[in-house]
Symmetry: C2
Subunit: 326 residues, 2 copies
C-alpha cells in the first residue's frame, strides 16, 4: 500500500527536466570521463565505472545544478548563496559565466583558500559570525535587500535536474549498469540521478550512501519520513547534514533501492586507494559511494556492473596526509 | 648542412610502426582521456591538453611498448626485463595478458610494494645485489640460460612504436595542437611520440623535457652527439639516466624542436598543483613536462595549444607528503 501511495505522489521534477538541463549544460560543463580500474574491479568483485565529477568545473558536480538554475533566470539577475562548500564555488563560477553578479555568504573563519577561490570567480564575499548569526537569515535578508535570487544547494527542481545530468552522461556512456551509487547529503545529486536512472532503466538498482554518523537519510528512508539527527562529525564534510530535503526526500523514497552506510575509516581508505591505485584525487565525500563498493556493502552478486558518481575532488591538503599511512 | 645529414639518416622506426602498434593495442590498452583544466590554462597562459597516461594499465605509458613488443613475439615466448620501475610492471602485465611467462630482475632492496605488484601479475622475481652485481649482465645471462627474450625499456623499435600510440591518440582527440611535450628518460616515449607527431603534423613544435640534473639528452641535443653524465639525483626517478639511447637519440635529433629543463622544485610544485587543482595523481617523472608549461619555459605566445603527456602515476605515498606544504 505504501508503495502505491509513494508512486502516486506528484514529484517536483522528472526526466524532461534533466534532459533540458543537459541541453543547457552542453558545451558549458565538462562531460567528465568514466574511469575504470582493474585493481578496483578485483578488490570490489565487480565491474566498477567511476563518473569522475572531481574533474567537473569547480571540482565537483555542483556546477551542473548551479549553472542550470542560474542560466534559467532572467539575464542580469543577481544571485546569492550561503554554502561554504562546493556549491558556493559553483554558484560563483556559474554566475560569472552567464554575466550575473553573485554574493556568497561565508563564515568569518572560512579557509582563506576558499575565500580567495570564490573571489577569484568574481563573486562578492559577505562574512558572518557562525557562532552568533544565522546564515540562512543573513542570506535571505541580503537577497531581499539587494533583490538577489537565492540559489539553494538542493531544494530546487532546477538544481536537482542539473545534478541529474551526471547520471545521464554515465548511463549514455555505460548503458548496461546493474546498479548506480551516489553520496547523499541534502539529496540533490541523488534526486536528479535517481530520476533519470529510474526513467531510463526501470530495473536498475539505485543506492544512496552516507557515513555512519551522517545517517539522516538512511534513518528517514527506513522510517518512511524525514528524521533529524544531531550535527554529524563525519570526515565527509559535504554530507554533514541533519535532515534530508523536503523536496528531495520524496524523490529518493520513490526511486531508491536502499540506503547504505560506510564508516569514516572506510572513506579514508578509499581516498587513499583512489589516489594511489586509480590515480585520482577525490575528496572524502566523493569517496563515500566508492567506499561502499570497496567494502562490499552492496547486495549484488560477483561481476555486477556498478556505476559510481565520484562527486568531487576539492580536498584540503591536510586530508591527503592519510595517504602516507599503511 | 647538418640538417640535411640528419634528414637522410635511416631511422629504426616510422609512422607505420606506430599505426601497427595502435592496431595491436586496440581494445587491450586503455585509451586514456585527455584532460583540461581552466586553472592550469590560466596559470600557463595557454590551452593545455593533458594525456593522462597515469590512467594507463599498470599506471604508466610503459604498457603500450611492452605489450606491442611481447604480443609480436611467437606465442609462448618467455620474456625477461631488468627495470625496477614502471617498465618491469608493464612487462609482467603484458606477458600475463598474452599468456607468456615473465622473469623480472629486481634489486634485493626494491620496495616490497613493487615486488608484490610484479608477482601479482604472475611474474617471477629474481633478485640481485645492486652494489655487487651488474643487472644487465644478470638479465642477459638469465635470458640466455632460460631461452627468454629480453624486453628493453626503450632500445627497441617495437617498444618505441608502442609508446608512440600515446601521441597518436592525443593527436586524434585534439588535432589542432601547436606543441607537444613529453618527459625524456631513455627516449623511447619521445621517439615514438615525435615520430607520429612529425609525420602527421609537420609544423608541430615538439619539446622533450628533463630536470636540471638529468640533462643527458639536453646536453646531447645541444652537442649533436650522445654525451654521458654522472648518475643524476633528480626526484624524477623515471628519467635518472646517464645517456640517451643509441636507437632513440637519432630520432629525437631528427624530430625535436628543442629540449627544455625544469628544476626538481618545479616538479614538486607541479605534482602538488596537479593533485589539488587538476585532481589527478601524477608521479614526479610524469609531471616533468607539465612543469615546463606551468613554469612558462616554452618559447610560445599566449594562447598556444599544448599537448602534454603525463607519463605515469605510480607515486610513493611519501612523495605525496609535499602536497601538504605551501
Amino acid at each position: 500500500m505504501q508503495r502505491t501511495d509513494r508512486a502516486t505522489t506528484r514529484l517536483p521534477m522528472g526526466l524532461d527536466d534533466v534532459l533540458e538541463a543537459a541541453r543547457r549544460l552542453d558545451g558549458v560543463g565538462i562531460r567528465t570521463p568514466v574511469l575504470t580500474s582493474r585493481t578496483l574491479d578485483k578488490r570490489a568483485g565487480g565491474r566498477i565505472f567511476l563518473k569522475a565529477e572531481n574533474f567537473q568545473r569547480g571540482g565537483a558536480f555542483k556546477f551542473r545544478g548551479a549553472y542550470n538554475k542560474i542560466s534559467s533566470l532572467p539575464p542580469g539577475t543577481g544571485v546569492a548563496s550561503y554554502s561554504s562548500g562546493n556549491h558556493a564555488q559553483a554558484v560563483a563560477l556559474a554566475a560569472a559565466m552567464v554575466g550575473s553578479s553573485a554574493v556568497i555568504v561565508m563564515p568569518e573563519d572560512a579557509p582563506e583558500q576558499k575565500v580567495e577561490a570564490t573571489r577569484g570567480y568574481g563573486a562578492e564575499v559577505v562574512f558572518y559570525d557562525r557562532y552568533r548569526e544565522d546564515r540562512d537569515e543573513i542570506g535571505r535578508k541580503l537577497a531581499t535587500e539587494r533583490g538577489l535570487t537565492l540559489v539553494p544547494p538542493y531544494e530546487d527542481p532546477l538544481v536537482m535536474a542539473g545534478q541529474g545530468t551526471a547520471a545521464l552522461e554515465l548511463l549514455e556512456d555505460v548503458p548496461s549498469l546493474d546498479a548506480l551509487l551516489t553520496p547523499v547529503g541534502g539529496g540533490g545529486l541523488m534526486a536528479g540521478c535517481a530520476t533519470v536512472a529510474r526513467a531510463l532503466f526501470p530495473g536498475l538498482q539505485i543506492f544512496g550512501v552516507e557515513t555512519d554518523s551522517a545517517n539522516d537519510t538512511y534513518l528517514s528512508f527506513r522510517k518512511g519520513e524525514r528524521v533529524t539527527i544531531p550535527p554529524p562529525p563525519t570526515i565527509a564534510d559535504g554530507i554533514r547534514l541533519t535532515t534530508p530535503g523536503a523536496l528531495t526526500f520524496p524523490i529518493l523514497q520513490r526511486h531508491l533501492t536502499d540506503m547504505l552506510l560506510v564508516s569514516d575509516a572506510e572513506v579514508r581508505t578509499t581516498v587513499r586507494f583512489l589516489a594511489l591505485r586509480a590515480r585520482i584525487v577525490v575528496e572524502p565525500t566523493g569517496a563515500v559511494p566508492a567506499a561502499a563498493v570497496l567494502g562490499k556493502h552492496l547486495p549484488l552478486g560477483p561481476g555486477a556492473r556498478v556505476g559510481v558518481v565520484l562527486s568531487g575532488g576539492n580536498i584540503e591538503p591536510s586530508q591527503l596526509i592519510d595517504i602516507r599511512k599503511g
